[in-house]
Symmetry: C2
Subunit: 341 residues, 2 copies
Amino acid sequence: MNLRELSDHLGLSQATVSRALNGYREIRAETRARVVEAAEKYGYRPNSHARNLATGRARTLAMVFTLGTGLPLDPHFLEFLVGVSEWASVNDLSINLSTPDASREEATYRHIVRTGLADGFIVNGPRVDDPRPGWLKSLRAPYVVHGSTEPAAPDSCVDIDNEGAFARATAHLLDLGHRRIALLNGPGHYVFAAHRELGFRRACAARGVPVDPSLLFATEMTEEQGFLLGRRALAASPRPTAFLCASLILALGLLRALADAGLSTPRDCSIIAHDDVFPFVNPASLRPALTTTRSPIREHGRHVAELLNRKIEASTPFEAHEMIAVDLVLRESTGPAPRLV
Amino acid sequence: MNLRELSDHLGLSQATVSRALNGYREIRAETRARVVEAAEKYGYRPNSHARNLATGRARTLAMVFTLGTGLPLDPHFLEFLVGVSEWASVNDLSINLSTPDASREEATYRHIVRTGLADGFIVNGPRVDDPRPGWLKSLRAPYVVHGSTEPAAPDSCVDIDNEGAFARATAHLLDLGHRRIALLNGPGHYVFAAHRELGFRRACAARGVPVDPSLLFATEMTEEQGFLLGRRALAASPRPTAFLCASLILALGLLRALADAGLSTPRDCSIIAHDDVFPFVNPASLRPALTTTRSPIREHGRHVAELLNRKIEASTPFEAHEMIAVDLVLRESTGPAPRLV
DNA sequence: TTGTAAGCGTTATCAC
DNA sequence: GTGATAACGCTTACAA
């Protein structure tokens, strides 16, 4: 059933039916009701390609996830993606997802713009000196960055206060008397990791506590790395009495390393992990329940989608920086620093 | 740059340019070369909506992931999705992703078909008595199921031999002398879980080993459940001497429960887990390295995409069942059964 | 308030 | 081998 058939049935013109369905003011209420009812009855839905062709819009948001750039395709991305998709569903937009390898990254963006597949882009996992904002600018495509680009860049973005969150977590550990704190951070080429380290250093500096570079780790956020680096950190002497983890997955590995070393938390060693809130690992149910800096990444997705859509619909371009709060949730994995061995 | 502009530049008709670019035979080689070169030079790309409107195809594969149906949105889905997307990218298809809640599930399928957003569907995580194949059939939309639908249903699907894999794993444990084996299975309403239990039971029956129903668990595949159910199973008396886990994530929790109980693997308790191959948890790097039934789920995605595309392009409908092999990878977590306590 | 008609940018069907 | 021209199904001036 297409528009012409429907309008024939109704004895109205295509234009009138189209306007009735699209909520135009000038349509008489009675006519509109008749049209809407008939559309319902026949299950009419406007063909998306025809509509997109006529309006010049794709009603689609694009996410390009480049494989092999060091960003492991982990649950963070999935949760974020779901957030985007939820918002899009509700607002009748589609999601276009592509996963090129690094060599075809730029071509993929250009392809999507040139063919009109999407109206705007979400840039994930901004890297230091990220080329993507530049590409998108020269393609004149709207985009929103999830995370921040360096340094106070003019790109629209939605981010959490990574620096503040890690400074606060660090301060909490310092308050508890910890002086040797290890940081299990994300990969160094990501902006968020740099910001977290900044927060860590800032809190330490504020108390005059020196930072031991050998306790700073930048790594992929896998269980395995959590275990390996945790073990390495614990071999230091004196060993750290507390850990800050950039992700719950890392913390899982760290817990294993601690158990392996016969250390108990929080008696021998405190832990704070950043929790992006995955459905399949709950920090409150771990042993011990983990103290976390918490920010549901799915919600970030909704915010990003909403902002991107605003940019797409904006008659005059604008940039916006949205900052999402991070909670520090105290549970059982943090306690007073032990005497050093 | 659109087709008209390009053909004007070339002094050719739109029809000729279009045909040259689409590889039609009748175009003179020289003409084609000239056209291709110009298209390259001006960065011409056919507008996807116009093309889709003209051809009646969307060149898009749809994945509908319904939230809150008990399928946790876990890394399995993401890895699978990447596989689909990789294949799609290479073959110049798009992915349309939506995540309705359960109440809008059927409407979402209908919406996508009616609006022509996609040419075919991938059905994930088939459930017992799954309504989706029925919906898609009545919508006359091509689809491929990832997994099997009950029982030997006529739906096209790509699946692994869940029953065979778990039978083989169970047999291996029985060979090692284990007689009390606990099964940490996925949620009962999924077909794959039913098949795995079948394999388990078949192997036990073949040796005349009775199955203790209190050692059979059907659960969401989270770390937490692995821990809780592992703990519960270990409290039985006599306790199980081996575990079969439906996922590596469950095994992670189980390992925690074992450590908690002061049990060592494989001395006190053997483990075999099913490994879908995630980038962020590597069974070979766990302590002990886990014996697994292994089947990279990303590869499933590629197979499903390829089969779905064949169905979409088929002039005459057909059904195909593709079975992917599962490896049993022996590592350190399986050993002879201990004397029961 | 409704109808007419001109796009939107392709592909496909004819002629030549 | 190439060129007109008619779809494809919708939106949107412009007319009435």
